[in-house]
Amino acid sequence: MKINFPLVVKTLTGFIREETGKAGFDRAIIGLSGGLDSTVCAYLAVKALGPKRVLALIMPYRNLDKEGVAHARLVAGLLKVRSREIDISPQIDAYFSAFPTDNQVLKGNKMARERMSILYDFSAREKALILGTSNKTELLIGYGTIHGDMACGINPMGDLYKTQVRELGRYLKIPEEILTKKPTAGLWPGQTDEEEIGLPYEELDRILYLLVDRRQKPDEVVKAGFESKKVRRIVEMIKKSEFKRRMPPIAKISSRTVGHDFLYPYDWDK
């Protein structure tokens, strides 16, 4: 699972640069949470486009993740990118006062979609392409909000596992405190990804790598030394989240149908 850093950086910065241009934009916009993924993505974006062509939005909800906000400010400052802080508390509170709930996941999803909505608004205002920060681990197990943090113009990070993103972060010399802190989706105070998913990223990524990259069957992964219960749980998570990785199915009733047999490239004429 060890990666060739110079090759990965060259490939991903080229991807950001070329796709931003093809989309008709000259800059990129990124939602900066102060976590590992958005930090690494911001470093790649600055390498690709230069600091003047990267806009970072920091979008806190009350004091839910104070440390994250501090780290996001630190990153924006270190990279010398333009950044804006937009407090999403008023609109989130207004919604949940009309439709109250104690369910933290519902609240987290709503916040993720609010941030998405702001990113798309600023994308249009600033003519900047939204860089997605979902990594391969999250995409595979569906640990993200559909139409929330998973929404973007392009995703440079989606083929790197979380542990590979961390190694890449180390290679890019991102701040040590961001490298070493426990990853969190910021759903509630003190929440960590690994507690919620139920196993550490190191183990999760190794299992995913065998299942996906090495095309091993679950039984083979168990034989390779992983706990059967964990392997089955991961397979279930992959299965249940396919809807997050695809456009919704269209009922095909005509002779030519979008998504079925009306098939054109994304980068058409670019």
Binding site: K2, L7, E18, P265, W268
Partner: protein, 317 residues
């Protein structure tokens, strides 16, 4: 921009041989060929804009006195065409784009990639390569092996070609291959058996595999180089591989175009992932020397291979 003049082997570094070059300039010119590699990033689905890129490269190649310029697979159209393939397919005999390229071919031979609309079989479109020379189309190769698995879906949109046929360019017998064709080693064997001294593969190969143990490039780049080295050596032929760069729908075209000598020595490799243009000098007299050193060609028995294959095919059916 890169200009490399390379003479293969030790022969030309000796003073005796340098004299030979000046004493017999015509012979030397005939044997010494400058090949331009255009490692470009075509615009997806826009042959007119790609024509301009081609003609710019042709001008550069002509100014550096190259006699052949090689472009990547589907260089006139881009790769990830899907339904566009049928819409922008062209008949090289009638196409205005080809008219311009044929005019250019009066100054330099060209190998270009395009989508061919079959004039002889309406409705079929091919992933094709054309060799243009002196205002004429010398040869069109239709890709035989269409990758249709994993990230590839060529079999959905293209018809498959049905033959490998080397042809004479007036300089050297040449065989054309397109991308995956080259990874099926029977394809190169057909050109070898047909006497090709120059095998040209045009490619739109995405880079895959970022394992650090593979060194500089993608794991798949290593795969192409492995085949390039093997085919050039065991065919005693010059092996030219032109791959594209750029990104389409998330696919990363790896570049890394190369030329191997008939002795299996790497003459040049262009950078991975970057657009580039290079003019490389190749000594065609090395083909004969390689075939004298290692008589694979003299000792080849295509009739035995053919009879064996026929039996295998018959028995398997």
């Amino acid at each position: 921009m890169l200009l490399i003049i390379y003479t293969i082997g030790a022969d030309f570094s000796t003073p005796g041989c340098s004299r030979e070059w000046t004493e017999y300039p015509d012979l030397c010119y005939f044997q010494f060929m400058k090949i331009a590699l255009a490692q470009i990033s075509p615009v997806l689905g826009n042959p007119e804009r790609n024509l301009k890129i081609h003609l710019d490269c042709v001008r550069k190649a002509v100014s550096k006195k190259a006699s052949l310029i090689v472009f990547p697979e589907l260089s006139l159209t881009g790769y990830t065409l899907k339904d566009l393939a049928a819409e922008i397919a062209l008949n090289p005999g009638k196409s205005p784009v080809f008219k311009k390229l044929l005019e250019a071919s009066r100054a330099i031979d060209l190998v270009v990639g395009f989508v061919e609309e079959a004039a002889d079989d309406p409705g079929l479109v091919y992933n094709a390569a054309a060799y243009l020379s002196r205002g004429r189309i010398l040869h069109v190769h239709r890709k035989v092996f269409l990758p249709t698995s994993g990230m590839f879906e060529e079999g959905r949109f293209f018809a498959a070609g049905r033959q490998f046929r080397p042809f004479d360019t007036g300089r050297v017998r040449t065989g054309l291959l397109i991308c995956r064709d080259f990874l099926h080693y029977g394809s190169s064997y057909c050109h070898f058996a047909g006497g090709a001294g120059l095998i040209i593969t045009i490619s739109a190969a995405p880079g895959r595999g970022i394992d650090e143990s593979r060194g500089q490039g993608f794991e798949t780049s290593h795969m192409w180089e492995l085949m390039g080295e093997s085919v050039s050596f065991f065919s005693s032929a010059v092996m030219v591989y032109c791959n594209r760069v750029g990104y389409e729908d998330g696919a990363v075209f790896a570049g890394g175009s190369f030329i191997y000598s008939p002795f299996g020595k790497l003459i040049t490799r262009l950078p991975y992932l970057e657009e580039d243009f290079a003019v490389i000098g190749v000594d065609l007299s090395e083909i004969a020397r390689a075939r004298q050193s290692w008589p694979f060609r003299r000792d080849d028995r295509p009739e035995v291979i053919w009879q064996s294959l026929e039996k295998i095919i018959r028995e398997n059916i």
